[in-house]
Symmetry: C2
């Protein structure tokens, strides 16, 4: 551990995977994962940890300033070392770890892949945006929507590090309102190929020098399409035209970066404006049917949204561990017990109550986020067990949790990163320690891949209503089952009571908002979407802290000792702290939502 260097919490990652979720036993029942064992998982995690620390983490500070650069002629240069690291990831099999063996991957379960991804992201968030988008593009091309022409080689090319991928949704006039996309796609003689024109903005990695070729996944509108999202289609737009054998030709497709943004953080990730067909022909291969663009894009977006949640977790975890180490090293003042004795021995700041409160607030929230994020990936794995009913059940929970993972983990990650800066005091504000960059890098999470406001509307307006509230009932059921297990320990009464109360507040608030909607007061309901997501997220993390504490309690009762015992006691402390210090926020959120205040909607206020 170190206050300046990147640290991973492999102990906690292993706890989640092998003690809490027992994936090495549980996934034996899923054919595609049956051959993996704990040893393989451990080996992959160790490899990812080493790569994260030795190969990726050194890029973080150098990539912050001056960051990715643009030559004014369409070419982006990534920070020094990015290219080598990208290919080290490829060659180490880490990019393809989650892909199936048929396309050159290892076929690891999502949950283990997420463990690896957490470490790589925390090491250098800006760098991980490139690998994350390449993975997401590959995953999309694994579906039936991959254009015929690309099918034989697309995923393999990405996995080999020949192609990177991007996601092109946003336009200057169409951010949150994706349906207002204006990029045009004209049909050509080849029914699969279109000519695209228009401009996309905020495209991460829109150009880069990491790979020979780039495949852009682009939303555009055919000339006779319906207005709104229903008129959008999706296209695969390569930077260089691809030959029939999958190799890249020297023929440049007319998709050129015309500028990059100067940002608060993630400066190593080039945020590009991409002009399509501005000076020549920009060819795009249709993915899925015309008008199906948003549906297909959602495959990629859901993965990206979970990815943003992972970012909150991993940057938060990195900041927490740096702050913890700093607090153990930094001597300042005497113990509060000797406050009035000017000669009292000086102590490290991890002895001061206010600092411990900050550390605990970070630890309890980071570890609960880890449990949440991994549990979503684990549900995706369990959904592969061949039972269609269970699949529907599990994927429903994933759908419900996706906006919460994206928005709540980005908000909590932000809070954690800011608390870490505070632990460092004045030094935290300087570039001498990584926590200030972490804070800046983390700020994007609440914005991209659909702002947190959009996530809240997705949760309240779509996911909560799906199947007449079925997804929420399913989650409540899961929550109640864990409460029963925790109750059975007879040692978690206070935590159980606090979580039950918070769950009830959540349930009542959901009913209240549902009733508002039925009365036709959509505005009144949607006004509370963000507070409702905060409320739900707060309760969800409370559930995860109880789940972890219960597992830890079982381990303690089974005779844990030494460092293990210390670790498990930390989990009990997490749940206690969270129940007493964080869960009460759920009460106040429930009250303010149910108060139904609409004063901000008053005419004339912000006009």
């Amino acid at each position: 551990m170190s206050a300046t260097e990147y640290t991973v919490d492999l102990r906690d990652i292993r706890f989640v995977l092998f003690e809490q979720m027992k994936v090495h036993e549980q996934l034996k029942g899923v054919a595609r994962y049956a051959e993996f064992d704990r040893e393989t998982y451990d080996m992959m995690l160790d490899q990812a940890a080493m790569t994260a620390k030795d190969v990726i983490a050194p890029l973080n500070k150098v990539g912050d300033s001056p960051g990715a650069s643009f030559d004014g002629k369409g070419n982006v240069t990534t920070p020094p070392g990015y290219k080598e690291a990208y290919h080290a990831i490829v060659e180490g099999g880490l990019l393809a770890a989650g892909m199936s063996p048929e396309v050159g991957g290892i076929g690891l379960p999502h949950v283990v892949d997420v463990g690896m991804h957490e470490m790589l992201t925390g090491a250098c968030p800006a760098f991980a945006i490139y690998t994350g988008l390449s993975r997401a593009t590959a995953n999309l091309l694994q579906t039936e929507f991959c254009p015929e022409f690309f099918r034989p080689f697309a995923i393999q090319r990405i996995m080999a590090g020949d192609w990177a991928g991007t996601m092109c949704l946003t336009e200057a006039g169409a951010g949150t309102a994706v349906g207002d996309n204006r990029c045009r796609a004209e049909r050509t003689e080849d029914p699969n190929v279109y000519h695209l024109t228009g401009e996309k903005i905020f495209i991460s990695g829109g150009d880069n020098d990491l790979t020979k070729n780039i495949v852009h996944v682009v939303l555009a509108r055919t000339s006779d399409a319906k207005p709104g999202t229903a008129g959008l289609s999706l296209f695969l737009v390569p930077k260089y035209i691809v030959n029939a054998d999958g190799s890249s030709s020297d023929v440049r497709n007319d998709a050129f970066v015309v500028g990059i943004e100067h940002k608060m953080g993630i400066n190593g990730s080039a945020t590009c404006t991409l002009a399509l067909g501005a000076n020549g022909v920009c060819k795009g291969w249709r993915m899925g049917k015309e008008g199906q663009g948003m549906n297909v894009m959602f495959f990629m977006m859901n993965e990206a949204r979970i990815g943003v949640g992972i970012q909150g977790l991993s940057i938060g975890s990195a900041s927490y561990l740096n702050a913890l180490d700093y607090a153990k090293e930094r001597v300042q003042g005497s113990s509060i017990d000797n406050m009035k004795d000017a000669n009292a021995p000086r102590v490290t700041i991890n002895k001061h109550p206010d600092v411990r409160r900050m550390l605990m607030s970070m630890k309890s929230q980071v570890e609960a986020m880890r449990s949440l994020v991994y549990s979503v990936a684990n549900r995706l794995d369990r959904a592969e067990n061949g039972d269609p009913a269970e699949k529907e059940y599990l994927l429903g929970l994933v759908e419900l949790m996706t906006p919460i993972v994206k928005a709540h983990c980005s908000d909590v990650g932000w809070e954690v990163c800011s608390t870490a800066v505070q632990v460092f005091g004045g030094y935290g504000y300087t570039k001498e320690y990584p926590v200030e960059q972490n804070l800046r890098d983390q700020r994007i999470s609440a914005i991209y891949e659909g702002t947190n406001g959009v996530q809240a509307m997705d949760l309240l307006g779509r996911k909560m209503r799906q199947g007449g509230g079925m997804l929420f009932m399913t989650w409540l059921d899961e929550c109640n089952k864990e409460l029963e297990r925790a109750k059975a320990t007879k040692k978690m009464d206070e935590e159980v009571t606090a979580l039950e109360r918070a769950r009830d507040h959540l349930g009542q608030t959901a009913m209240h908002l549902g009733a508002l909607g039925m009365q036709g007061n959509i505005k009144g309901a949607m006004l509370q979407a963000t507070p409702f997501l905060n409320l739900f997220g707060t309760v969800v993390l409370g559930l995860h802290s109880v789940w972890q504490a219960r597992v830890a309690l079982e381990a303690i009762e089974a005779g844990a000792a030494g460092d293990d015992l210390k670790f498990y006691k930390g989990k009990l402390a997490n749940a206690r702290f969270y129940a007493k210090n964080v869960l009460p926020r759920a009460t106040s959120l429930a009250k303010s939502i149910q108060a139904g205040d609409e004063s901000c909607m008053e005419e004339g206020l912000f006009e």
Copy 2:
């Protein structure tokens, strides 16, 4: 107004000064302010607004990058334009506005001076640190503690722009623990002059090119002094030795900057490491008696702490107004009423409930902060009316509110700045708009001039206990009086009820913590210091929103119309929104504090 340019809210500033506090009438009763009238105040405010917008604001972006620079030889260069702007402030009389006419000032009331200071700070926070420190140094030199030698000319020199001032407390091993200061002061033949040695860090403006000379206010320890704060003395250390007529000689005192910090924000403000007597003689003139250093320093620190609160208010206000303007201009999506109609007209985002919720959250908190900060300054003015009992009463309230102004306004300012970024979406994360810099600049507020944790300990451990809880009782009394006035309107029942409930929670929590202290559980009490300050701050801003709404209601009933009516209605909306959406946080804070959780103190957790 503009989404990119600095905007001041003169309408609201005038409301606070002339409608809410009626300072132009009220201060007629204070001899030193009796000759001022509304016209003079308005003129000064207009001048400050114009200077802020035209002279200071243009420095903000250029000063951010690359910021102040250091030549490695002791010399700091401020960003382009800083020097000219500093002298424009001096020549416009704005630096001296609050100083008495005897020393070349105008003798304006503190509250009007704060109004001007708010605008200058919001225009360029990094720049205002220089002027703020010069003012604070001048104010300190106005006291009996000014060294005899400097008395005839010190303030005049600062006000004339010949000297800047700095505050030198922190050392590498003595940040929060000021008592651990090691800088040494050796007596010389001249009983007023000492030779200083040692190193100070984090010194804002430790060197700069704004003025010919700089006077550093330095804490140091005489060789035979007691340990701890009781052994500290204070010294005035000029950069150039001062001649008997107050002119600066060419003799360089050995106080040299040896490095500056690279920071997240306020990059125009040079944060310096200052070496004293490292290569020669560093002369310091004692201020006050030996061992009195901390007491004298507190004069300056209290002003600086209020200054940090002003920073939270002004940067928050600037961000809010930029976001408001952006929301009025930015077209995105259709109204939620036409959600399903893809052809519905596109609207500006100020029509969307989630955006209005964010705007309201910013507006209500910024305006309540303004009321709080100005009310503290106003109490300082009223304290000058010659009645000793009233003076004690009013200064007691100022003492109680100082840590709240410093810490709560810096926290709320941070929340507001982050919300403003969110309103801008992706653009908010770019350097195209000022809100990302505001967010970075604002992050320092919770750290410097005593971290917010230190403020919380000052509030709970000192101010709440002062006179057996007398200050708190006084505040409660003021709160109750305003509640009675609001009740009398018979139109604010919900806001009154909510504030009464929050006040009760605050009172019970204070009693609970007091009891903990009496039982000897100092650790348990101090563990809750930060949540307690948050709780108190939340209630205080609630009180101010009720106060403002009551005044607005009276104006409406007196027949306000047009833009005024719109403005007053905004105040009613503030109070309603705050009562329903922010005050509930007080309940959850009170509950979690009273739950008395000490899980983070468990042995072994962070060791």
